[in-house]
Symmetry: C2
């Protein structure tokens, strides 16, 4: 009997021409319908990712049979799923996205693709944002190796005739990423086009999606990014994006993650969105998006390490690392990108190759820390300010100092519009992300020379000072409780991690 | 005959008890009524700032006489007035505010006050934000030397009984600033109070303002800042602030500048506001405020150089200098402050003393540059982006590339709400401030390794690279026109200054 590893691809083939058959895979009460697709000029295929071990049956037209699904080997945890405002692998293993951006790496020549994969093998990133269609914009003047479709007689794209060479190559790259433990965040549409691929009709786009789902959805490391910068694609509107999102949600038999990345305005909340992929420099708003969408938030494009002539691509490594940490303590996951100018136009952000920057090591340090401490939450929790008006000793009354401070804060907030209130909260609340065993704050470009810590009296805690650039963790206080004045190095890029050793969780300090 | 210098204080005295007389000062058709005020226990006085040279007459109850107003000596340019979105001295001389913040310096002991003045004499700042009432908050625990009023029998403040020692001292400090060429931006109300001065009734507050106007308005370097952080003063509402602003506007015979500084939300547009004094870290919004208020904008409190435990007071010198330049290229004027922790609690921002930081020299460099090139304008001018969808060579049509780019920008913008559009414009438009002879841009934390310059073909221009931290100006191109690819040092804190040598003005490059 055939066998396949859990979460791997089980494939059946049949002669070309029979491509519109639906295969049914079943095990006990579970039954999954999967559509066939043209695989080569002479063959069709159907692909299925078994999500449970044991014996499965299949029926495909006249064919039927069974196969054995063997347990997953080390490092195979299945697909990534959303879980509240976080992610996890479907087998329950920890997954925290620390991704990078290589839009057009699969459209480069074999040598460059091999170099990119070698770089990724040594890099910390566990997700790659990558376009299915080729990319046209500055630093992307070379032609792609292949296109996803053949052209019709008039020179337009014939979406009914997939270019098999393109798709074979693309899925080989998916597999290469999978074998490196890297999620492929596949961008299905984007505006950066000189070949007319952004100008297909809605019907053509749906046919393209249909093929992509049938062909690619059985790869466990697939994520669907409906668009890069949906609002910059002027040939499509929200009715298109909804049609695409709904189709992906309805037709993908394996329920991969779905996002829709913005240029300016985050895409509205939709049932088919599994998480937010948000472009903004204003990473402190992460916790606002979380509270609005109640989904995981990945900050994708807060700016790249580099020195090119676009403001989105010329940040210092420190600034990029700073924005990554600011994202994390505001409850989101950060994404890397690199755009150092090169005469050969091989910039990592689009073509891959090798990394030149200083931020990847720091992303690795951050990733290791996060994997150690686990997912963190950061919300629009109310903070209290000190009521400056309340210090009149003659004012009397029985209010505690904290009550009076909270009153002041509420009174100030109460006078604001909703928009002003949100902005004020985001600016006034010290960013702090927590889970039951940890509380993490990051001072960013603030650089205090000390911090007054207020830890619970009925617990014990470890306090570490983290230098995010030097990648250094220093235990400053061990097994302490209550109030401490902690000296700090008065430099930018300092975080504080409080770990609970006993007693209550820390929600602020 | 008595004589007084133009824009200096002409003072008449009369016995106490006659304090409610109105003096009339006249020259030709001009006639100015000025109210008397109690000067000491035994005397009242009236003060008048003549704003024209020549012979003036006065009448004060039974008294009358005349005096000669002599021309202003070097360095005496009269009061500062608003002029569009800029300032100038009333004699037409250039005035660009590069201020600092020393809230409570007049409430410290004589030795510290003398030290503060010595520091200011050697510093670049030409304006000081300073409170009339004493200040109570962290690092401000010492009692003031004097209070502005005597207490009544019940321990409240008797605003009808000014504490002359307080006012003499305060105005001596005004004069000391004036003699250093420094404007005194007098903050009349603020929330940071433990003595009940923030809890006076509206009538008491108006009586206090009445006295302040009568006593201080004849000093040419007076500016009225109605409040520091008006929205944090919970004992007053906008009806109060309007009453105060309208009174200052109506009663000050010399029409000094009036602002009202915010904690969170800029004070609404009012006829009595002569300029905006805005607290925000988001200095890029300067050009938005300018376009809304159509008044000069001073960014006051974008954060201070220092290392204390408040996020508003622990920025590096570089970050403060960066925010200052970002303010300038967005059409506003920046303000300095310094908050390095000290065991003796003498922090410059509140008490004065000596400066410890590295930003003042950079404020001086910026000030010298601005005085050289003059006022700059920065508006919400439309910029054009490149239409990524328009690159299809098959799209055809006769539109120029620029037309197509502008169409794309308009289409993207047209889909946004007003709030989104403003935010997008502020983020997408390269900040550039211009006047007929200059165009200044600042890359901030962007650090491109080159810039494509597009200068007019029918003029000649000088291009300087400015390192805002190293305080270095380097002429990179001299007497050039047209297009140039200018290498840049790929570091943070770089500005570009284009100076017109001949031909048309540069509005963008």
């Amino acid at each position: 009997m055939n066998s396949v590893e859990l979460y791997d691809v089980f494939e059946l083939r049949l002669p070309a021409g029979a491509q519109d058959v639906t295969a049914v895979f079943s095990q006990g009460e579970t039954s999954v319908g999967v559509h066939t697709f043209p695989l080569t000029e002479g063959e069709a295929a159907v692909r299925f990712m078994p999500e449970r071990t044991g014996t499965w049956q299949y029926r495909l037209g006249e064919q039927s049979g069974q196969f054995e699904v063997t347990p997953a080997r080390d490092g195979n945890h299945g697909k990534v799923v959303a879980d509240g405002c976080h992610f996890r692998y479907q087998d329950g293993a920890r997954y925290l996205p620390i991704g990078t951006t290589i839009y057009a790496w699969t459209h480069q020549d074999d040598e460059l693709i091999a170099q990119t994969l070698a770089t990724l093998a040594a890099a910390p990133f566990n997700k790659v944002r990558m376009c299915l269609f080729p990319k046209s914009m500055p630093y992307n003047h070379n032609e792609p190796q292949h296109f996803p479709f053949h052209r019709d007689a008039e020179g337009g794209w014939d979406v009914a005739r997939p270019n098999f060479e393109f798709w074979e190559r693309f899925e080989a790259n998916l597999v290469a990423l999978r074998d490196l433990g890297i999620e492929a965040d596949i961008i299905l549409f984007h505006p950066y086009d000189r070949w007319g691929l952004s100008r297909l009709t809605r019907e053509q786009n749906l046919a393209y999606l249909d093929y992509a789902i049938r062909r690619l959805a059985a790869y466990r490391n697939v994520w669907w990014a409906v668009a890069n910068e949906y609002d910059f694609v002027l040939t499509k509107d929200n009715a298109d994006w909804d049609a695409f999102g709904e189709k992906l949600s309805a037709d993908d038999p394996h329920g991969h993650l779905i996002s829709n990345h913005n240029g300016i305005t985050p895409y509205p909340k939709r049932d088919w969105l599994t998480h937010c992929s948000i472009q903004t420099k204003d990473v402190v708003r992460s916790k606002y998006w979380r509270s609005v969408y109640e989904l995981p938030v990945i900050m994708e494009e807060f700016g790249y390490e580099g020195d090119i002539d676009f403001e989105w691509g010329n940040l210092t490594a420190f600034e990029v690392v700073h924005r990554a940490w600011a994202s994390v303590v505001n409850g989101a996951y950060p994404t890397h990108g690199e755009t150092y100018w090169r005469a050969d136009e091989v910039l990592w952000w689009s073509k891959g190759g090798v990394l030149h920057g200083e931020s990847p090591a720091r992303f690795g340090f951050l990733k290791d820390l996060l994997y150690e401490i686990g997912d963190l939450d950061a919300g629009l929790r109310q903070s209290v300010g000190q009521d400056p008006n309340g210090q009149d000793p003659g004012a009397g009354g029985s209010d505690s100092e904290l009550d009076r401070a909270a009153q002041w804060f509420n009174l100030v907030m109460g006078k604001l519009t909703r928009e002003e209130r949100v902005n004020a909260m985001l600016n006034m609340i010290p960013p702090m992300a927590t889970n039951p065993d940890h509380a993490l704050t990051y001072f960013g470009r603030s650089r205090p020379c000390f911090k007054e810590l207020h830890l619970p009296d009925d617990g014990t805690y470890r306090v570490e000072i983290i230098d995010v650039w030097e990648m250094a963790r220093t235990v400053s206080l061990e097994a302490v409780s209550g109030q401490h004045r902690l000296p700090l190095p008065a430099k930018e890029g300092i975080a504080l991690l409080v770990t609970r050793l006993s007693g209550p969780s820390v929600t602020h300090f």
